[in-house]
Amino acid sequence: MKKKTRTFLVIAVAVLLLALAAHRLLRKQPAGFEPELLNREDTAGGGIAEFIKVKLFFLSETSRYLQPVYREIEVPEIREDLYRKFVSLLLAGDGGHIAPVPGGVQLRSLHSLGGGELLLLDFSESLAGSFPGGTTAELEFIYFMVDNICYNFREIKKVKFLIGGNESKSLAGHIDLERPFFPDFSWLEDK
């Protein structure tokens, strides 16, 4: 085989392998969006603070899909702190919409595991104690959390819930809560 032909074949195979790897990588990426980075003057310290614009989704009485709302979060140095702020926004709710979370529920702790692909959320015991029950309500809570997180932070592929620091079999007797949940963006109005 001529040297030129051999070189061409090697390059062709390399390009093909790269294309396959890129396709595989892109296919695994969940549909989501890249939070917009905003720079603002920090009035307190006089410096520049970084903010990101995130897209939150809440329930509404008029639609079975979660509706989008935009918010800004100041970016802390530690990534987990950003996730914590984000979940706090979800728990705080939005005046015009419904946050499918019982009142008074708090995030006890949050851990990023598995190279950042798994986010572990540990909620206060009041999540189970004051949950209203019903399959739909359980699914509303689960996908409200999982879809919002995975949509805004592409690096997170799945979310696992703890209640009061422990694994819980179920939130209200229906959905298996011991497994991590992958996003289901069919819940979102603006996918």
Binding site: L59, I98, T135, S170
Partner: protein, 381 residues
């Protein structure tokens, strides 16, 4: 170098020789139950096997040498079995269960401590009846009872699971109506309908206001060898305007892909039980996903029931859906979960307080079950 190769061969021979030379002692026993005969092969250690089912006999093939207490055992007083023989054919042993007439394997599974291979055998006459007629369009608003279907041989036991109970109230409506009370009422009505119309055996995970764990509910169905699992619930949403009925079967999409892959591999191996899974952890994963093998039938059952709910309840059709329900995952049979109406919706809560509405719900579920049984039987032809 040569010495180490020799040593390797010697060690390998030492490991393999006992399997080739030592015979595997297997005990046999059988029991006649109502509608089926159970055959059990028990041994001190696990073994791989292949099954060949013929109309007049069942052959269980094992690699190596196996021995029954006697090369030919006559089975006295059995309704289905004539004798059991064991013979050596080349490298394998063949245990043959000879039938009285034609029979077939309904179930085959493994139990451990001690290791047992279990077969449930049934007579193989297959009779099916025409499906129950759907109610005429003009009569949709009235409860319609389909003509009684003859008792199908294949499905003999149905497990009804009224959701929640005891200290677990389930969802609670504005007027304090509790989900646990509604599901029990519907469940008992459904039991009565099934027993009176098609005479099948019905087992209940609870028939009173008692608390039963999710795992126990599936265990009751599995241990009683139920061939259908119907879990009854009423729904609740954070959206007060949400209403309608929906029927679920289990979803595996929200589970770990690795577990799903293992379960799929196991399902592929179902045709070759010889590749029995040895790893305990893997067995646990598969047990937790016992439903994987029955998903297609569960989907069909959900479809039939949801169609009947749409016809009889005249409420919003929220369709057939999938979700990772804990109670369904461990059920080793077609299994569905029905959400009859929303107790969180004021209008539907009022309906759920009315006996005539609960009658319609139970009748709709019964009609769906009857149609599924017809479908199930026709696939066995």
């Amino acid at each position: 170098m040569k010495n180490s190769i020799k040593a390797g061969i010697f060690c390998a021979a030492l490991l393999v020789a006992p399997r080739l030379l030592i015979s595997l002692g297997i005990d046999f026993r059988s029991f006649d139950h109502e509608g089926y005969t159970r055959v059990v092969f028990q041994s001190a250690r696990s073994f791989a096997y292949r099954v060949q089912s013929h109309p007049d006999r069942l052959e269980v093939r094992l690699n190596g040498r196996a021995d029954l207490p006697s090369p030919a055992l006559v089975v006295p007083n059995s309704q289905l079995l004539d004798r059991v023989t064991c013979e050596q054919r080349g490298e394998e042993s063949v245990i043959t269960v000879h039938f009285k007439g034609a029979a077939e394997v309904r179930k085959n599974f493994i139990l451990e401590k001690p290791f047992r291979v279990v077969f449930d055998l049934v007579r193989s006459e297959k009779t099916t009846a025409p499906p129950p007629q759907a109610p005429a369009a003009a009569e949709k608003s009235q409860p319609q009872e389909p003509p009684p279907a003859p008792r199908p041989r294949s499905i003999e036991t149905i497990c009804i699971d009224p959701g929640h109970g005891g200290e677990d109230f389930g969802a609670i409506g504005r007027s304090k109506l509790k989900e646990k009370d509604v599901t029990l009422k519907i469940g008992l009505k459904l039991k009565k309908l099934i027993e009176s119309k098609i005479g099948l055996r019905v087992i209940m995970t609870r028939d009173q206001d008692s608390e039963v764990s999710l795992n126990t509910r599936a265990s009751i169905a599995n241990n009683q060898l139920a061939q259908m699992f119907v879990s009854i619930h009423v729904n609740s949403s954070f959206r007060k305007s949400a209403y309608g009925s929906e029927t679920y079967f289990v979803s595996l999409q929200a589970t770990d892909p690795e577990s799903l892959e293992l379960a799929q591999k196991e399902n592929q191996n179902a045709e070759n039980p010889g590749e029995a899974i040895q790893n305990d952890e893997l067995k646990m994963i598969l047990w937790n996903m016992a439903q994987t093998e029955h998903i297609r039938e569960s989907s069909k059952l959900a479809e039939y029931i949801q169609n009947e709910l749409n016809v009889l309840l005249g409420t919003r059709d929220r369709g057939v859906k999938q979700a990772p329900f804990r109670v369904l995952m461990r059920a080793a049979m077609p299994a569905v979960l029905i959400e009859a109406a929303f107790i969180s919706n004021a209008s539907e809560e009022k309906k759920l307080q009315r006996e005539d509405f609960l009658d319609k719900v139970s009748l709709a579920i019964y009609n769906g079950i009857s149609k599924f049984i017809y479908h199930f039987n026709s696939t066995l032809k």
